[in-house]
Symmetry: C2
Subunit: 170 residues, 2 copies
């Protein structure tokens, strides 16, 4: 949301950043890394941690709202942690990003056809259907998953689970 300006120039621009970190696969690392962000009061939009091709190493993808300068400091601190192998900021680079969502939507005999049409258009998959609800699996980049959820909102979303974004440099 854009904030009202009172004529003063805003010194630090808050933006959404996407960062990936290769870390040793210990749970303590996650507490350490998330502590660094929370200490700065950064708002995190999503976080995904999964194993990599090397089972001793995990990859974290963090989407965070922060100003450039403070984020630069946090990245330096991250790089200094023993269990952090590598930190890369993808913002501004050419990358592929994807998110997976599971969404349970309310359905009736009147809306069924419309909802199935939306599922087809977004190349999503129906994973379960009952008389009252339909559960859909959808993937895409930020824009696509957002648009998908917005279209389904009017039917009534009973439940949604999102993985958060993962990303890879092209």
């Amino acid at each position: 949301m854009p904030k009202k300006k009172n004529g003063q120039t805003q010194k630090r621009k808050i933006g959404r950043h996407i960062i990936t970190a290769l870390v040793e696969n210990h749970f303590g690392v996650l507490a350490h890394v998330s502590g660094l962000f929370s200490a700065r009061g950064f708002n995190i939009a999503s976080l995904a941690v999964g194993e990599t091709e090397d089972p001793t190493v995990s990859r974290m993808t963090i989407v965070v709202e922060a100003d450039d300068r403070t984020l630069e400091q946090v990245k330096k601190q991250l790089n200094r942690l023993i269990d952090v192998i590598k930190v890369v900021e993808l913002t501004g680079k050419d990358f592929i990003d994807r998110e997976l969502i599971l969404v349970k939507v309310k359905i009736s005999s009147k809306t069924r056809a419309e909802i199935i049409q939306i599922v087809d258009v977004f190349d999503a998959k129906i994973v379960q259907a009952t008389d009252q609800t339909i559960t859909i699996e959808a993937t895409g980049d930020q824009q696509k998953t957002q648009a998908f959820l917005e279209l389904l909102e009017k039917y009534g979303i009973a439940e949604v689970v999102r993985t958060g974004r993962i990303a890879m440099e092209r």
Copy 2:
């Protein structure tokens, strides 16, 4: 930790558990929650945090290796945290689980057709292709994504990013 009882060691069964938690959307919560697990020395397989239908609330899906009794204590502690709204263990329940992976595989003129066939069989998608590599997006439950990665291993995996599992009760 195994406790001695009547001179005999009572072993605690370590298993993989899947837990979802609805939490207030503050980054501090994540540090708090992950701290509770790391204090017990639990090994986390994956963690996914994403926004829900209510922007002030996030949902965490945690896959953790732990013994039943200690995990029970951690769940109670989680429930006591102010920012934790609800904790549900899905292990043993009827649930849908999904994971998204992005995987960059080495490719040659000899292996190209084989790899594309695997992509088709697993209903995966090619998101980028060069002369040397192919980047694939795949989704599925634990078993499917694992089988997919194992099949691709012999071609040489250059990079893999996983969201970690998300899950929803049926």
